[in-house]
Symmetry: C2
Subunit: 238 residues, 2 copies
DNA sequence: GCTTGACCTTGCCCCAGGGGCAACGTTCGA
DNA sequence: TCGAACGTTGCCCCTGGGGCAAGGTCAAGC
């Protein structure tokens, strides 16, 4: 007859776990010897190994309990199900591993592939990393606030970037961030921007009156501006 | 600016989880709007996705917290470690799957390969499944109570089974379980057993005076006897 | 016989990672 | 204007045990 420690060692668990299984009704309480120690027999060892096998496979103890005295068909079905579950979990772990690797480089992890591609295009255009981050943050907010609009807006942005004049303006605005607010190039840039805006026929998509988006855009800009940008904004409005 | 629900949906978690991360200090509490609602920006979304990526990889939240503002080297090292861990867990799951499959057939799962082989030999000899179970339970107890003795005893048992007379006696004892206690074959079997025992030179191993084992054996037998076996035992002793 | 160390007993609180519910305030669209 | 859907805090609950306390017990060696 075995003590709780011997039984636990045999099954590769702690004595604590064995007592836990008693509490949860998974393992029958054995008889006690004269000193009150639990004394186990081989049947307990068999059951304990079964419990561990099922629990190691990720089955909750409550289900293990039901299953221990279920008929063979139920048992087999449960085994099959758990087996499927294990395969799913392996796949999940593989995915987690891949995600983890992404964490080290780039922002593909944080935005949809569509947006990530767009950001890469900006980079190829020579846009500063600061500006790319600003864009990324804007798209994250948009994606979170109204995901169904993202595709349309991305398409619109792409359409604009196809216009050489817009591309030039975009890059100059980007560069202007670091200029002095008194930089003589600012009035000229403002003028060119207004000219472009006047000649530019706003598309359907752009006129979408989504107040959420409008407020969102305003906030995003507000967070990260510079003296030169502030002046530029005033010059364009005036 | 996002509400907690939008942020949570974006990262694929529950609002409860987001609040949990605030409590644990993983995610900075954002400002509140006039009604007391939390209002999040893109930075929160970035951090939240990072948190989930690390947590999904099995990292405890406490470590995630430390890692979120660690230097890149520490971060990379931690990533590598977690990656190793994931691979280990995948291997573990695979093992669990294999064990699970074993659960459906035989008792290889419960005893060492050595003992399982021995039990299979008994089966080939035509020993009843009842007797094989009895043996199995005995070996489980021995393995749990004093694993270092198992190999020696198994070898001894094998040596005995090589003796044709012992094999015959073993099988007849097995069969006698179901006999009536008045069966006329019992006295003859007892006599043959005594003759064999007298002519049998007990080996070194057999005389090992392990009182634990002796008590153990006695208990095992006591649990599963039959009227015929009881009579047989009395006949042999007398 | 005595000590020492390893074992056993019960009981209680602790952890992650949230879920669920209460009881209430806010916002938004029809 | 009203109801649904969302937000707030706070509390207790779950799993699968770990850790520790405050003892009782057992076997070995001296």
């Amino acid at each position: 007859m075995l003590t709780i420690g011997q039984l636990a060692d045999y099954a590769g668990v702690t004595t604590k776990a064995v007592r836990h299984y008693h509490e949860r009704g998974l393992l029958a309480e054995p008889g006690r010897d004269s000193s009150g120690y639990r004394r186990y027999d081989a049947q307990h060892a068999l059951t304990l190994v079964k419990i561990r096998t099922l629990a190691d496979a990720g089955m909750p103890l409550a289900r293990v309990k039901d299953l221990l005295d279920a008929d063979p068909d139920t048992f087999a079905a449960a085994i099959a199900e758990i087996d499927q579950d294990i395969r799913k979990r392996i796949a999940q772990l593989r995915r987690a591993r891949a995600q983890l690797a992404q964490l080290r480089g780039g922002d593909r992890l944080f935005v949809s592939p569509e947006i990530a591609d767009y950001l890469d295009e900006l980079r190829e255009l020579g846009v500063s990393e600061r500006q790319v981050c600003l864009e990324r943050d804007g798209w994250i907010l948009m994606h979170a606030a109204s995901p169904e609009d993202v595709s349309r807006w991305i398409a619109e942005k792409r359409r604009l970037l196809a216009d050489p004049e817009f591309r030039t303006l975009y890059r100059e605005h980007d560069a202007a961030y670091d200029w002095s607010p008194d930089d003589p190039r600012l009035p000229a840039l403002a003028e060119r921007t207004r000219t472009w805006a006047a000649g530019h026929h706003p598309s359907e998509a752009e006129r979408v009156d989504n107040p959420t988006i409008a407020r969102l855009a305003a906030r995003t800009q507000a967070g990260a501006s510079s003296p030169a940008w502030d002046r530029l904004a005033r010059l364009i409005k005036s």
